[in-house]
């Protein structure tokens, strides 16, 4: 009887300790998610009238919205452009830093520093690089006798410019994880390979890269989340333009909610984003974490 009371007391203490976190999570994560789902089923009231329930009407509007498809396509291209590039660069950087080259400390600092900056500051700096007449890149091209490119104003080039900037910012962050993994690799592997006369390239592809697979998957998940989450640079560089050429999903949500005042449509787009994130989360928890063991 006493033991059951003690057990009950422990349960109660535990629940109390969890309470602050639970309240905050409910307020800013769970409730908003449910509210978003519900909101996406309404159309905004006209001139202050209450919103009306329309079921899946918003989703039909979404499917017919060419801008939405443009934005979704952009996000996909953006993800495909930034993720493999930054991961490959991060791996190369980690290999460089790990190889005990002269000036290693400087090199590592150079690679990692962009990560410490706020995205908005990075965007400011690159804004000048990309500026049409007076910008650094076009001045350089001019000095070489080539005509300048409208880096942020040309719909065909703008997204690539944004991608390049993002890769610059992100690669150093992923480098850290690769570096840790490389430093954790047992040196006996390298020695054994040397004894057999394996070339460095072969060693990399057959030993190092497969052993780094968990890190690569981890970095991949992180990069996927960032491709959805980070839209700060758009506020400075392009504001989603020209003509939605660089618009991304989260920025489109922001526009709909705070520029067009269409909260229900924003909620609908948010549901799409949540779905994408849910898929990423499922991949992480179901597939990746089967290797790691949460005690």
């Amino acid at each position: 009887m006493d033991r059951m009371n003690a057990h009950r007391r422990m349960q109660l203490y535990g629940a109390l300790l969890l309470l602050p976190a639970a309240v905050l999570l409910a307020t800013f994560a769970y409730l908003p998610t449910i509210a978003t789902l519900i909101n996406s089923l309404f159309l905004p009231g006209f001139r202050g009238a209450p919103t009306e329930f329309v079921g899946l009407e918003n989703y039909r509007l979404l499917v017919e919205d060419s801008t939405f498809w443009r934005v979704a396509g952009n996000n996909l291209i953006y993800a495909l452009g930034t993720i493999p590039t930054s991961i490959a660069l991060a791996l190369a950087m980690a290999l460089f830093v790990n190889a005990r080259l002269p000036g290693r400390g400087f090199v590592r600092m150079a690679y990692f520093t962009p990560t410490i900056l706020p995205m908005i500051a990075a965007a400011n700096i690159w804004m000048f690089f990309y500026a049409p007449q007076i910008g650094l890149f076009n001045k350089l091209l001019g000095a070489l006798g080539l005509s300048g490119v409208n880096w942020l104003g040309d719909p065909g080039v703008a997204l690539t410019s944004v991608i390049v900037m993002t890769v610059w910012k992100e690669a150093g962050f992923f480098m850290i994880f690769y570096l840790a993994a490389l430093q954790g690799m047992p040196p006996e592997l390298r020695e054994a390979a040397d004894l057999e006369g394996t070339s460095r390239w072969s060693f990399f592809w057959r030993v190092t890269f497969p052993l780094l697979m968990p890190t690569t998957l981890f970095v991949l998940i992180n990069a996927l989340i960032n491709a959805v989450r980070v839209v700060d640079h758009l506020f400075i560089l392009t504001k989603g333009g020209p003509n939605n050429a660089t618009n991304l999903l989260l920025y489109y949500v922001y526009e709909n909610a705070f520029s067009f005042f269409d909260r229900t449509y924003a909620a609908t787009i948010t549901v799409v984003i949540l779905l994408v994130l849910a898929i990423v989360a499922t991949v992480k928890f179901a597939i990746l974490d089967r290797r790691t063991h949460y005690q």
Partner: protein, 280 residues
């Protein structure tokens, strides 16, 4: 070493590193260039934006202009208060929750923990529309609390602390209990001190994240009263205002200086910290 004993391998080893070193250095220079450029542009008059004249005169005018054109002192204060407040609150809330998950038999603990982990993917920015409405209802719009509150219950922090607390041997807890300590005393005397490295690592990551956070602060603040540096910088250099680049560079440096200097001084801790936190 096996390399030294094999002459062919040694010759091979001598040739390739220099190519590798060159590539590494080139990439490093390309990578650090934008930041170096910002420093150049901020400390030289606007005429030298693209003229890389080594003997160009240094000037602090750009900084003076930037300081005069936007209330950076207020932005600094806001950011400092925000970051300190958020990190301290996170320490408290996540410690309590992590401790609960690590040591208490809560019914449905595993399900609850999964729910917590969901927050890793359902972060405040995704739910920006609803969170703004909630913040508005709670009267938190344009307050520093409003900027920080959604982040206080951090799934990441709870995860890290739960992990760390689980590794602390129960014998230490038992020893404290024999001395008559209640749960809170055990938490504060045994668990928290032993988790210091985790607090440091998490703290640095959190500080960087919140110093650099932009989207949510942008939405939730609408005046200088509560605006942090990132939003201030964003507002300042919005393309429509036609501010000159040298001033923008100076403003940018002003915004990033404290974190950047802290990073350059404590590189090892920062890097270790981001590393440790990579268990997400």
């Amino acid at each position: 070493m096996s390399q030294a004993s094999h002459p062919a391998a040694r010759r091979f080893a001598l040739r390739v590193p220099s190519l590798e070193t060159t590539a590494a250095w080139l990439l490093a220079i390309v990578w650090i260039f934008p930041l170096l450029y910002a420093v150049w542009a901020a400390f030289h008059p606007p005429a030298f934006m693209v003229r890389f004249d080594l003997f160009a005169p240094l000037t602090l005018d750009n900084f003076a202009n930037a300081w005069a054109q936007a209330p950076f002192a207020r932005y600094y204060l806001n950011t400092f208060l925000l970051v300190t407040g958020v990190v301290l609150a996170q320490f408290v809330v996540c410690t309590l929750a992590g401790f609960a998950f690590a040591r208490f038999p809560i019914p449905g603990k595993d399900v609850l923990f999964m729910l917590v982990l969901i927050q890793l993917f359902v972060f405040p920015e995704v739910l920006i529309v609803e969170n703004y409405r909630i913040a508005s209802t709670l009267g938190l719009v344009d307050t520093i609390t409003g900027i920080g509150l959604p982040y206080v219950a951090s799934a990441f922090g709870i995860f890290l602390l739960r992990q760390t607390f689980k590794t602390i041997p129960r014998e230490l807890e038992d020893a404290a209990r024999i001395e008559g300590c209640g749960w809170i005393a055990i938490l504060l005397k045994v668990y928290v001190p032993l988790a210091k490295p985790t607090y440091l690592a998490y703290g640095l990551v959190s500080i960087s994240h919140h110093w650099n956070n932009f989207l949510w602060p942008l939405v939730v603040t609408n005046s200088v009263e509560s605006r942090p540096l990132t939003v201030g910088l964003g507002v300042f250099s919005a393309p429509e205002t036609g501010v000159n680049w040298a001033t923008v560079s100076a403003a940018t440096l002003l915004s990033i200086a404290p974190l950047l200097i802290a990073f350059l001084l404590f590189q090892r801790q920062f890097v270790q910290s981001f590393l440790r936190s990579g268990i997400r």
